[in-house]
């Protein structure tokens, strides 16, 4: 790593929560508008997080603190590595450290909701983690490397990997936990598990998780954006458009069942990946 790498790393780590918070705020505003409401101010997520950070530290179990910190730090680390264009597979692996701890933190409390939520989150991870790596394999087939640097030099992945792009959008939809995929937690808590996996996190630790979610959201959006790395502005627009579509889907569908999600995501993931890569393999060369 060179000095400029360190600078980029630091800049990404500092800027990402701001972007993530803004996007979350926009998400809430747009959702409200879609529902015919006025909606919260765009800065609302920041108010929420700042408030949560300065609330009383309430825990059930010391381990929760640890889990929340690791979740946040691994998210930060993965975003930082993304910014310096490191190995994407490594980034996913680092991200999954946080997720594992996130789940363990919830399992470590005795609240039935948080435990069932954690079980569901595990199922959810089972649904999207493989897909995420499938996406990388698709990129590898085009770029011949897992290094983001090499992948980005390819320019317009979207043209080669349209179906893989769909798979990644699906991952985004599962990851941001919107209908029809909000099983382990839900944005507005009106589900059978209250807030599921987040039920027993409170105050500052909930805030840490919220911030980590922003990091992951931005990371996923950035992964969508590199499908058009020739011009990253267009890439960003594409990824925001996908995000907007996810909001719309959230607003036109009910929460589905867990089994449905697992079979749906795996089918889509495997079929689309195989078809797309097969296409590359047989048609393009």
């Amino acid at each position: 790593m060179t000095w400029s790498d360190y600078l980029v790393f630091a800049a990404a780590v500092i800027l990402t929560p701001l972007i993530g918070g803004l996007i979350t705020g926009l998400d809430r505003k747009v959702t409200a508008l879609i529902q015919g409401r006025y909606g919260p101010p765009v800065l609302q997520p920041f108010y929420d997080v700042v408030k949560l950070l300065s609330k009383e530290k309430m825990i059930v179990n010391d381990f929760q603190i640890f889990a929340a910190y690791i979740y946040l730090l691994s998210a930060i680390l993965s975003v930082g590595f993304f910014a310096i264009k490191a190995d994407l597979l490594m980034i996913i692996f680092i991200m999954s450290i946080g997720l594992v701890f996130y789940v363990i933190g919830a399992l470590a409390t005795r609240s039935p909701y948080s435990q069932v939520g954690a079980q569901r989150e595990l199922m959810q991870m089972l649904a999207y983690e493989p897909l995420l790596i499938f996406v990388l394999i698709g990129m590898y087939y085009v770029a011949g490397s897992f290094n983001l640097h090499d992948i980005m030099s390819h320019g317009r992945l979207l043209l080669d990997l349209p179906l893989i792009f769909v798979v990644l959008s699906l991952v985004l939809d599962i990851k941001i936990k919107k209908s029809p995929f909000d099983f382990s937690t839900s944005e507005h808590a009106h589900q059978e598990l209250v807030r599921g996996i987040l039920t027993d996190y409170a105050g500052p630790y909930l805030a840490l998780i919220e911030i980590a979610d922003w990091y992951e959201l931005v990371l996923l959006l950035a992964m969508l954006a590199i499908f058009w790395s020739q011009n990253l502005v267009i890439g960003a627009l594409i990824s925001l458009f996908v995000f907007f579509l996810d909001i719309i889907v959230d607003n036109i569908s009910a929460r589905m069942t867990l089994k449905w999600m697992l079979s749906f995501s795996w089918t889509i993931g495997i079929v689309f990946t195989v078809v797309n890569i097969g296409y590359l393999y047989f048609v393009s060369r």
């Binding site: 959702t31 879609i34 529902q35 015919g36 409401r37 039935p112 909701y113 069932v116 209908s179 029809p180 909000d182 099983f183 839900s186 507005h188 808590a189 009106h190 589900q191 059978e192 209250v194 959230d250 607003n251 036109i252 569908s253 009910a254 929460r255 589905m256 069942t257 867990l258 449905w260």
Partner: protein
């Protein structure tokens, strides 16, 4: 693996604003058994009948449940009127019917919203409640209060609807109907909604009858029971058919409720057009004579039964309310085992529970 988990459901739970406690025994996510515990709303208001006179009790029974409060008051008043042999004016009967049907619409819309929320369809919840506000406006404009409208008194009603208001109501109802058609389309055809409701919580006709289910719960299973056909209040003057669906699953119950909303809109239109001029109440003198009476009517959730025993004083001897949800609880406990955990809110809401009714 025979490992079974136990999961609480309620009393403080966002899906179910009302406090009911279910202890669910689940295997993975499949519900094996459900043990209910009630009593978080139990106030014991039936005994208030011995402390408050029969006129004041109208306002108490209205607060048995805030959602179909008007119908509680109506049923109570009809019981007392039958006991005392009071004939209420026809216009009062019509007015009672209109308010009752408005309540049915608002109750069904409220239910639909909560139901949508239970399976995670937030937008549907918002849209339904947006439409529901129009009904609430009608109630507020005609009675002075949004939820507990306190219009029924022994001997008739307290508030009148003038022709200007009637016109406005009709206009609003057209608007509501228009918007509801879109919602109806979603409830009936949306893939995700169907996935979450079709075949979920099937209650056969025999089971529904045997377990004493009432209202949409029974109607969704093909039991043709709608007390409005017995022609209390103004229903004898109105033209309608009870709505029955056969499948007995959550989807069928949805359909019953959705169709009932349109039916209610139609009934209100009929009632407003047929409503004669005249008094809205008759003065009631004296106390109810000693005797027992049972009065029933069709609430939005089903059949409510009022049992009243009077001893000739102004205080009633015994007031007992058998509410529809109370009758639907056995059916709920029947359909819960075997379902998935994520369907539990759907199933609970599919009986349209009103716990404060159940526990009084």
């Amino acid at each position: 693996m025979s490992d079974k988990s136990t999961i609480p459901f309620g009393p403080q739970h966002p899906v179910l604003p009302e406090p009911i406690h279910l202890k669910l025994v689940v295997e993975d996510e499949k519900v094996v058994e459900a043990y209910p515990a009630f009593g978080f709303v139990h106030r014991g208001l039936e005994t208030l009948a011995q402390k408050k006179d029969f006129n004041q009790m109208v306002y108490v029974v209205e607060r048995v449940c805030g959602i179909c409060s008007c119908m509680h008051g109506q049923d109570y008043c009809e019981a007392i009127e039958e006991l005392m042999g009071v004939q209420v004016p026809v216009r009062a009967e019509y007015l009672r019917t209109i308010w009752a049907e408005l309540h049915r619409i608002h109750s069904h819309l409220l239910w639909l919203g909560l139901f949508a929320d239970a399976f995670g369809f937030e937008n549907l919840f918002m849209q339904t409640w947006k439409i529901r506000e129009k009904i609430m406006d009608i109630l507020e404009a005609t009675s002075g209060n949004r939820v507990i409208i306190s219009v029924n008194i022994v001997g008739g009603v307290r508030k009148d609807i003038n022709s200007e208001q009637a016109k406005w109501i009709l206009k609003e109802l057209d608007d509501v109907e228009e918007q509801l058609k879109d919602i109806n389309d979603v409830v009936m055809n949306n893939y995700t909604v169907k996935e979450r409701t079709v075949g979920i919580g099937v209650l056969t006709k025999e089971e529904a009858y045997e377990l004493g289910a009432t209202g949409p719960m029974a109607k969704g299973s093909g039991v043709d029971l709608d007390l409005r056909t017995t022609g209390y209040a103004a229903y004898k003057y109105l033209d309608f058919e009870p709505i029955v669906e056969k499948d007995g699953d959550s989807y069928a119950r949805n359909l019953v409720r959705m169709r009932e909303i349109f039916q209610s809109i139609d009934l209100i239109r009929q009632a407003l057009s047929k409503m004669p001029e005249g008094d809205i109440n008759v003065p009631v003198k004296g106390n109810p004579p000693a005797g027992e009476v049972i009065s029933r009517l069709e609430q939005s959730r089903g059949e409510v039964v009022y049992y009243i025993k009077s001893n000739g004083t102004k205080f009633l001897d015994r007031l007992r309310i058998r509410t529809p949800t109370f009758a639907n609880i056995p059916a709920l406990l029947k359909i819960l085992p075997g379902s998935q955990l994520q369907d539990v809110p759907v199933l609970i809401l599919t009986i349209d529970p009103c716990i404060s009714c159940t526990e009084r």
